[in-house]
């Protein structure tokens, strides 16, 4: 509860800081300090110090899983702000407002990681989505940004409609929005419940950009200002995934036999489309959009398996994925040319940035000794644990191999090709933050228990 209240308050603080503070750097410092505060209060709650004891009538529950995930989100958000907050200035004049919206989104994320009621899930998802529509369109003069924003908005509102219809049908069957009451039924499940569950599956699949509901993702990620794409593709996506797994664990855990096959189909489609289409992209930004679909396919394996390993593994996966992707985007934002050719000869100009980007890419590709490998390993092991559908695991491994191709195209361009050297200037602080991100990626790749032990003790 600490983080929920503080993040909402911080959002308001940011709104006013735009009026009261003239310097953009001051606004940024307030935001970073606020984020650190958020992390601290959340860690305090993880250690048992609750400041705001608000009775939510069982609709919100901050358990270990939620608190740990929130910690991951806030750490990622701090790193994100340190790396990319400066670049938001280029997007438009409403600097403080962007940061306020980011705090509101974090408030929504706090809700979606801890909901116990479908009402809170709905509100949380909307609090995440509405600011995102705006951030996507924040580059107002840019037609691509406009287009992305409108597409995202229309498709997002459509999926909200699906979600609400699903919730309504579930309410009809169970008479409650409470996840525990949704999961308790006698005898066979009512068709209302099953149909509602399937509709919710669609809308959640839409939000995490799983095929065949992924169509918005490449366009929106491509069109949005890159600094916000970075945020959307990492922290937000991770949060929705956590909501997804919570929902299907707590509300529909008893229906597992009903949805497992559907999830398997969606997983295969997502892995296939994400990986295969990523191969043909010319722009690194768009490639990363498809890669986020492909990574979502891997995370879907956790949903498919839905055992203790899967939840644990998903935490590791979202951490690995978010850190690596934030690291890559931070560099990408600085570039003027987003095509693969734009990276030619990058290693010569910025050896350190090239090295960190390489390690992040290796992690996404799942090369051992990076967090990406272990997290993929966890996912596959969890899927194996179900004892069914060995082909799903084999397919996922095959697709992981395909993914190496497009990640390595970037590495190859940076190291093995000569080209027009783009001048980019970065501060030493930026470099050091990137080194920290990369170090975390490698550290988690060797000692995953540094993270996962928090889940248990």
């Amino acid at each position: 509860m600490n983080a929920l209240v503080i993040s909402a308050v911080l959002g308001v603080v940011m709104m006013f800081s735009g009026i009261l503070l003239k310097q953009k750097s001051a606004v940024r410092n307030v935001a970073i300090a606020g984020m650190v505060l958020l992390l601290i209060v959340n860690v305090l709650e993880l250690c048992g110090n609750v400041f705001f004891n608000i009775d939510s009538k069982g609709m919100i529950e901050f358990d270990r899983f939620a608190l740990l995930f929130n910690t991951i989100v806030y750490v990622s958000a701090i790193l994100y702000l340190l790396l990319s907050a400066r670049d938001m200035e280029k997007v438009g004049v409403n600097y403080a407002e962007y940061l306020a919206l980011i705090f509101f989104i974090l408030c929504g994320i706090t809700l979606t990681s801890s909901f116990r009621s479908l009402l809170i899930l709905f509100l949380g998802i909307e609090i995440i989505s509405i600011p995102l529509y705006i951030l996507t369109g924040s580059d107002k003069r840019n037609l691509k940004s406009n287009e992305a924003s409108l597409k995202y908005f229309l498709l997002g509102a459509f999926s909200t409609g699906l979600m609400l219809m699903g919730i309504a049908l579930i309410y009809g069957a169970q008479g409650s929005f409470d996840t525990t009451r949704v999961s308790s039924f006698q005898g066979t499940a009512s068709p209302l419940l099953v149909a509602g569950m399937v509709l919710l599956l669609f809308s959640m699949a839409f939000k995490v950009s799983a095929a065949p509901f992924h169509f918005w993702t490449p366009d929106v990620y491509d069109g949005a200002p890159t600094v916000f794409t970075s945020f959307m593709a990492t922290i937000v996506k991770a949060a929705v995934f956590i909501a997804f797994i919570r929902l299907f664990d707590e509300a529909f855990g008893t229906l597992q036999s009903q949805w497992q096959l559907l999830i398997a189909i969606i997983t295969v489609a997502t892995l296939f489309i994400g990986n295969i289409t990523a191969v043909f992209q010319q722009s690194v930004k768009r490639m990363l959009a498809y890669s986020s679909i492909a990574q979502a396919g891997f995370m879907m394996l956790a949903l498919y398996a839905m055992n203790a390993d899967a939840k644990e593994g998903l935490l590791l996966y979202v951490t690995a994925y978010s850190l690596a992707t934030i690291g890559i985007f931070a560099v990408l934002i600085k570039m003027k040319d987003y095509t693969f050719e734009g990276f030619n000869g990058f290693a010569k100009q910025q050896p350190l940035l090239a090295a960190t980007t390489t390690i992040c890419l290796l992690s996404l590709a799942g090369i051992p000794l990076t967090a990406g490998f272990l997290s993929k390993f966890y996912m596959l092991k969890a899927a194996l644990g179900t004892g069914k559908h060995l082909w799903l695991v084999i397919f996922a491994v095959l697709m992981a191999a395909v993914s190496v191709y497009y990640y390595f195209r970037v590495i190859q361009a940076m190291y093995f090709k000569d080209g027009e050297v783009q001048k980019i200037d970065v501060s030493p602080a930026f470099k050091w933050t990137l080194v920290v991100v990369t170090a975390l990626v490698v550290l988690l790749g060797v000692f995953p228990n540094l993270l996962l032990n928090w889940y248990y003790f």
Binding site: A8, I54, G92, L101, A195
Partner: protein, 168 residues
């Protein structure tokens, strides 16, 4: 089998709602679409009253038909959109859309046809759940946390409208 007044009203309102909804999507002129949508909302409000949800019936008319749709109308008028400005989609695409939507309806209805038809809705003494007093109490006791949370939603929408709308 006797036909009660409730049933008659149900059928009339249902036909009205469906008809005006169809008109929303078939009208060429956007202004007409808006007006038909308002008609749909009125029929749905009628349903709410039949279901003794007076509070929602009123809110629906005030908020939806009154505020939101006027906003729509305002924007349409502002842009001066009329019949000529909206090019029509290819006939085949329209057909495909209609068929896809129809299929979805069929599948949904077919999968829900087994719902226990014993569940019915009738008026009963004390069935005043939809009255403002009861809902108000609930909203400000049990649902006070979500209620406060929705304020965050409004704040962000407000900030958003400023970000998008403000001249640079």
């Amino acid at each position: 089998m006797t036909i009660t007044i409730t049933q008659i009203l149900f059928w009339i309102l249902s036909v009205a709602a469906l008809f005006s909804a169809l008109m929303v999507i078939t009208s060429k002129n956007p202004v007409h679409s808006v007006l038909w949508l308002i008609a749909t909302f009125f029929s749905i409000s009628g349903h709410y009253i039949l279901l003794s949800a007076q509070f929602l019936a009123v809110v629906n008319i005030i908020v939806y038909a009154g505020a939101i749709m006027v906003l729509f109308l305002f924007v349409i008028m502002l842009m001066n959109l009329n019949r000529e400005t909206e090019p029509q989609k290819n006939r085949w695409i329209k057909m495909a859309g209609a068929i896809a939507g129809g299929c979805l309806l069929l599948v949904l209805v077919a999968s829900l046809k087994n719902v226990e038809s014993a569940s019915t809705i009738e008026d009963v003494k004390g069935g005043d759940v939809g009255f403002i007093k009861r809902l108000g109490k609930e909203l400000f006791s049990t649902y006070v946390v979500p209620f406060e949370i929705s304020s965050i939603l409004f704040l962000s929408a407000m900030v958003g409208a400023v970000v998008i709308g403000k001249k640079e």
